[in-house]
């Protein structure tokens, strides 16, 4: 029977079916972070259980680390206890830690792929909802809570009912300055904030094949914003060459054996999905969220909805989002003054994201009164960006250039906006108060964020770059 790639990876990792009907799925790589892992370490120790495979488990310090140059544990005072508990828990359990001063420290979803831990056809778990970022390399990744994290530490499997499968085929060629972020926001807008709940999504089609690996990661990162259990792109030659030579990737004869295993990793021609969607990306313009969840999205030339014009069931949600965001029905977002711009997060902090933003910023300056910051996704990205001179481009333009971490995405490290500020951000959630109490967040691509920082107003990057702005 023809199989989807999801079926193949699931079946290959199926260890047993538990008495309660749940499948036990082996987790090849388990990556932890300091906000949740300390609780799981404590839980296991109370139960006198040990970590089964510390050699397949890695610890990252990302959510609570300060971004200020010269940072240490105390720079963000509320993070210190988490960093310490993570350090001690990792040491007690024999888990390799990428600590705050490690040359490869960074956001787990950025670091794991870039050091070569993430492999095609492998399974991956992180106690974080954006785990499926690494689906861009053809890995099947699951986000989980603290109890599930403890379960994986003790057993190296997750116990789960088999999710349903969805195919999203992205056709056409993206226009200039239109990115994977814009594609993902449009998909979420069309399918809704719970549109992929219960599903593992395979992204396919010409537009996906044309995407660089980092863009595929951006696409898969946002899968959870429509409730997806996981999301991935089938691996291809560009994935294999991206991984080859990275420190944790197989080498030599082992690499050749792995490649032979990875090349057939694709959905069979006649395989059936539980649901299929097709999007034409060729007419897509840069996208931006107007509301308070990632499904409330507009094209940059669009206008915010009028609650009076929608049916009653949706009216209250739109009214409350407009009130929080300080917007009027039917208004355009382009041209709206902003207070803050943030470029970073597991969604958009890899080197090509920073390059795209720097291309817009080069030779220009952040508008007066706008606070703009760039936080690389990892210390490795930061080093590479500095080697390419990108830090100078940003700093000369008036951006803050920070140390790597989750920063303003989760608001757990002290970086946040002031009440009432309008913040244009390359992150993944525009929930109320997420980037600080009463902060009004608009999600965009790095190019749109950069154009907005320069203009001081929400900007169409295409116009700025063609000299029309």
């Amino acid at each position: 029977m023809p199989q989807t790639l999801f079926d193949k990876i699931w079946d290959a990792h199926l260890v047993a079916r538990r008495a309660d009907g749940r499948d036990l799925i082996y987790i090849d790589r388990h990556v932890l972070h300091e906000l949740h892992a300390p609780h799981a370490f404590e839980q296991l120790e109370k139960q006198h259980r040990r970590v089964r495979r510390p050699d397949l488990t890695f610890s990252m310090q990302d959510h609570t680390v300060a971004t200020k140059p010269g940072r240490d544990d105390t720079t963000n005072p509320s993070g210190a206890a988490f960093l310490k508990a993570m350090r001690e828990g990792s040491r007690r359990n024999g888990i390799r830690l990428f600590d705050i001063d490690d040359p490869e420290q960074g956001i787990s979803h950025v670091v794991a792929p870039e050091v070569g831990m993430v492999l095609p056809g492998a399974t991956h778990a992180v106690p974080d909802s954006h785990a499926s970022t690494v689906g861009g390399l053809g890995a099947l990744a699951f986000g989980c809570g603290t109890s599930e994290l403890a379960h994986i530490l003790a057993t190296q499997v997750i116990a789960s009912r088999r999710p349903k499968s969805m195919l999203i085929r992205l056709e056409g060629k993206l226009a200039a300055h239109v990115t994977a972020k814009d594609v993902a926001l449009r998909i979420i807008a069309e399918l809704g904030a719970a549109g992929a709940r219960g599903y593992v999504v395979e992204y396919a089609g010409a537009a996906v094949r044309a995407m660089p690996i980092e863009s595929r990661m951006t696409l898969c990162n946002l899968n959870i914003e429509m409730g997806g259990r996981s999301g991935f792109v089938a691996p291809d030659e560009s994935v294999f060459s991206w991984i080859e030579g990275r420190p944790f990737a197989p080498k030599g004869a082992m690499w050749d054996r792995a490649l032979a295993c990875w090349r057939p990793l694709k959905t069979d021609d006649d395989a059936e999905f539980d649901r299929e969607h097709v999007f034409d990306c060729s007419t897509l313009e840069p996208q931006i969220t107007w509301g308070t969840d990632p499904s409330q999205v507009l094209g940059i030339s669009g206008r915010v909805p009028d609650p009076a014009a929608v049916d009653q069931s949706r009216r209250a949600a739109i009214e409350s989002a407009l009130a929080y965001m300080g917007l009027q029905p039917g208004m355009a977002l382009a041209g709206l003054p902003v207070d803050r711009v943030f470029i970073g997060s597991c969604t958009n902090s890899r080197l090509p994201d920073l390059e795209a933003a720097a291309d817009v910023v080069r030779g220009r300056h952040v508008a007066n009164g706008v606070i703009a910051m760039v936080v690389p996704g990892s210390t490795t990205v930061k080093r590479a960006a500095e080697a390419a001179g990108l830090d100078r481009v940003f700093r000369d333009a008036g951006f803050f250039w920070g140390e790597s971490g989750c920063s303003m995405c989760a608001g757990g490290n002290g970086d946040r906006g002031e009440p009432g500020e309008r913040c244009v951000s390359t992150t993944n959630r525009n929930f109320e108060h997420r980037q600080g109490p009463k902060v009004r967040t608009h999600l965009v691509s790095p190019a749109t964020a950069a154009a907005t920082a320069v203009a001081g107003r929400i900007a169409d990057v295409r116009q700025l770059m063609s000299g029309q702005a």
Binding site: V15, D20, L35, G143, C144, H151, A194, A316
Partner: protein, 209 residues
Amino acid sequence: MQPFTTHTGIAVPLIKDDINTDQIAPVQSMRSLKPDYKALLFMRARRRDDGSENPDFVLNQPQFREPGILVTGHNFGAGSSREAAVWGMLANNIRAIVARSFADIYRENCLQNGLLPIVLEPQQAAAFTDRVVAVNGAAPFTVDLQTQRITGPGGPDITFDIPAADRMRLIEGLDDIGLTLKHADEIASWERRTAGNQPWLQSAADRRL
């Protein structure tokens, strides 16, 4: 895990869709490893700008100060995987949530902690919501997982569906890790097999070392 058989308490109507974990348990509330889980639940909605209590928020109203059951809309618990969004419910003695639907990770976190996630069919949900609003905290409802029934003022008993395995796990308060470790031999043999045919999966060494 604390077993769940039956739970009686005041049902609180919070009838909105897409209530996310940033609303339920804001990340900024987790400034210590042992935060006050009771206080962090819906922390922002509970307070006005000046820090005083917001009398309009449902959990601050006198009749809902001792909640037992939360009644809500679609896609409850969207967003982050943080389990504090479940621990905050338990710290407030909310041991059952009746929703139109749950976000996947949140529902799993509920099951892991003995918090009963109930999904009602649309018609039933509408009728139950009307009853909860009408009774306005004056009398409690009882959720019985043995009989899969909700009983309370204003109408007939409501039956609900839940996968048999989830029901059993909650009723018996089963240790999830313990259940899985019954398969320890199969886990070990999967590892041996994979170490032979895909050794790169079973080794995550830094090859520079």
